[in-house]
Amino acid sequence: MKTKIKIKLAIICFAIIILAYLKSSFSQNQTDDFSTSKEGEFILNNKKYYLLENTKVDFEKGKIIFEPTKSGILMINNQEFNIKYDKDNPPKFILDKDGKLITGTKFTTQEGKFELRGYILNLPENSIVEYLEDKIVITAPVSSEIIPNVEDSKNIEGFLEIKTKEPGFLKIQGGNIQALKEMSPGKYENKETRIFYEYKDGKLRTYFEDKSINFLNDNGELDFRIINNGFGTNDPRVYLVYDEKELVSKKSNVLIKDDRIGSFNFLGKGPIIEIGNGNRIGVGLNKEGGNDLSDERTLSFQSDKGFAILNKFGDDRTPVLQISGNSIYGPDKKSFFISNDNIRQKPEIHHEPKPIIEGINHGDGTVSLIVHPFDSEGNRIAYDLFVNNENEYAIFKQGLLDDPKIYGFKKDNLKEAVSLFSSGISFNQMSSERKIEFLQLSYEARKDLVENFLKTGGVAALEKELERIYGPSRDIITRASVKVSVGSKTGSGTLVGIKDNKIYLLTAAHVVEENGKIIEDFEVYLTSPENKYISTGKYKAEPILGKVVAFSKRQGAFKYYKERGKYEPNPENLDLALLELTPTNQQLEEVKKRGFVKIAPSDFDLRVEEKVVMIGCPRDMFYARGCRITSISKTTGTNSLKVDISPYPGMSGGGLFKDRYLVGVVQSGGGGFGNLESIYTLLGDKYSFLYRLMLLIIKRG
């Protein structure tokens, strides 16, 4: 009996040992944690798994956790996971009671194909996969190419986020994308790239949520940049689509094809696209084979209640931008957009001379492009907008310039253009001061300058010549030109010096003379181009009072000298007057700030045909006119120097200037001036301090 019992117990023990062994090896429906002693299949909670050797298996509140301790392939739910053991990031697979991988699952990959919640994708080695509640995050090495696929939509759960471990790009369909962070308005730096894939409504969609991403070509050059103006809002997604049919309605989309890049948003403002010098469309190509797009020459566009699509139309044609709705085309620092809100109820092309598109760099230059505008119904508007690489824009009737050269139209082709917008034409490139000078030249002088300088040497040559005509110190000669008011009469004068707080002003005698008599009291108004309405309105200023200290009136040019019994030139015929002004302290300071004009030395080289400028104050305004000397007398007298144009009434007494020097005083409407000899005669020794200092300066160089 004892022996039988012993045998039975031995059998039971053996059976227990066998069962225990079987349980540990294949089908452990128990909840005790264990580690696998070798690689192989395990059945846990009625599900089969293929686990690696030394995998720690934990059971925790209905969940099963696998923690492999070596690299290799394991299989969960009939899916292979080719993992790499990384001690810094040890793998962990967490399964719910149904055997699905859930939040907390994390592993590093070997290169291979993976199916992650229904998304099938090839992952490179060292990608880190993390399961979160609603998404799987894959952190991949920089420059990885990860393009997911869906074979059976039933398995799809949540979405994928693919990002780089460090700042760098990812290869996706359509190109290489690089996410950016905005360091300051319009300035970006590379950051970790993130791209999202979601399967919805039977379609796999790609989007990003960052403020900005770059698309780079295979040479690492910028193809285009997308600025996400929904960044920071409730819906920061910008969908990247590769076919017009895949557009996500009511959302921001960017269309990326080999020959088209487009921004779409039919409800509001869509993504901004800034084109780079490595663009696929061929915008900005130059004859040398390079690309002109740079920080200086920029091109951007943005959809607004419509689309903005940049198209390549072959290698030998200018690219075309199609825009609709209120979409904006932003070459350089200007903007063109379509407006439908007008009383004519007709789509119009509007121009705003400032950048409307925000958050990008706007250069000063443009590249050749044709813009085809469309109305909100998608119909072509009758006009085309053209821009060339010389910063010129033109509106044409549709079809008038059907096949322009890729490098842009020339001005000669613009005959049919009715509206030309330009930041590049000569007038515009000139400084404000030079523009004034140019406009104030006589027509002949302007024509001469355009023919001889602008057409041959461009704006720089023209400006240089203007500087030569007007002199480098034009500011001084304009500031020193003042208005002289005597009773109801007005004339002009030039401030020529200061001594003992008295200011000296040179003018024509007839300005301070009435009915043959010198007027004792007169008023002098400081005037200037900036302050031309000085005697009226808000600019009204207090006059400076003065008296005449040297005077030679206008009279007969010849005088009969009894003693010699003949007529000789009359030295008392200068028509010049020197005024001494007594300013208040405040006025004195202002005059000192303005400075004084230097009277040219008596041997100043002044010739017929030379260009000079007259300045005076006709009516209530400041006026300067360029002119040419037609004659100079070597003797003194009224009208001893003549020019080819007439001063306006009120300019009498004003100055005639060559370079920075005063060379004459306006005397008559017929273009007559008092010459330097006359001025020196008037000043004599008594007022030689007005020219001696200048002579000294000249002698000292």
């Binding site: 092309i349 400032k354 006009y383 009715v418 509206s419 930041s423 406009l439 007439s646 306006y648």
Partner: protein
């Protein structure tokens, strides 16, 4: 013997007799009446011829003066039209104006485009001021003694031309003859009226929206009036210079240009 009879006898043919009988009826009284009528007619013809010759002589004598003033009027007219084109319709642009002496037509959201009458007055005042410089006291005509009265110009801007009427009474003496001319007239073939209408239309559009310029509107207006609109930037972003160019009006040997400036209002959202 009556001379007439001899005349009749010797010279007059039967045909003439028939005619004369008709002219000189039998009655002596009638004959005298006819005689008087013929005499008056002859005198009248002589006077007309004399007066006509005198007028012709007069015209010939003062023709150079007339031509000279006329020419000055035309030249000044051309110059003034050129100048007002440069400045936006003014001889001296008012406030607000660009520093380049070009008047703003849009500034502070207000339309400052001058009326056609204002531009006409500006042209007139330019000529009134500058014509004397061209006339220069008739220094080129020393053989004439010319007494001038003050001059006044009336300008009328029409679609295809600008008509200048100068009221400038002159008393011209040459030798013993004195003549009087009061009015001169010149027409400058500039399509200023058309340009004015085009800009008026452009400004009406402009006032609807003052933050941008409607490029396609300018195209349409340009096409309608056969003009070219050019839009130029300035150093200040919101200020644009508009040049309206007319190939069909040549002033001072080049396409006529009419400039004006607009200052757009970008509102509070300006960058």
């Amino acid at each position: 013997m009556d001379v007439k009879m001899i005349y009749r006898k010797k010279v007059i043919s039967p045909f003439d007799l028939f005619t004369l009988n008709k002219i000189f009826p039998e009655s002596k009284r009638s004959q005298i009446t006819v005689f008087i009528v013929i005499t008056i007619t002859i005198i009248a013809i002589v006077i007309i011829i004399f007066v006509s010759n005198t007028e012709k002589n007069k015209e010939l004598e003062i023709q150079p003066i007339n031509d000279f003033v006329q020419n000055c009027l035309f030249e000044n007219g051309e110059e003034s039209i050129f100048l007002i084109g440069e400045t936006g319709g003014y001889v001296i642009p008012p406030e607000p104006s660009l520093e380049q002496s070009i008047a703003y037509y849009l500034h502070d959201n207000k339309n400052y485009m001058p009326s056609k009458e204002k531009i006409e007055n500006e042209i007139s005042s330019y000529i009134d001021i500058l014509l004397p410089f061209c006339i220069n006291g008739f220094e080129n005509f020393p053989e004439y003694i010319i007494t001038e009265n003050s001059l006044t110009t009336q300008t009328r801007i029409e679609d295809e031309k600008v008509v200048l009427d100068l009221d400038y009474p002159l008393s011209i003496t040459k030798g013993s003859n004195t003549y009087q001319i009061d009015m001169f007239s010149a027409e400058v073939p500039a399509r200023l009226g058309i340009i004015y209408n085009a800009i008026t239309e452009a400004m009406n559009n402009q006032m609807e929206r003052t933050d941008s310029i409607c490029a396609s509107c300018l195209y349409d207006i340009g096409e309608k009036y056969n003009l070219y609109f050019h839009v130029l930037d300035t150093n200040e972003t919101e200020i644009l210079l508009i040049i309206v160019r007319d190939e069909n009006s040549k002033i001072l040997d080049e396409d006529y240009k009419f400039n004006y400036a607009i200052k757009l209002d970008f509102g509070e959202n300006e960058n």
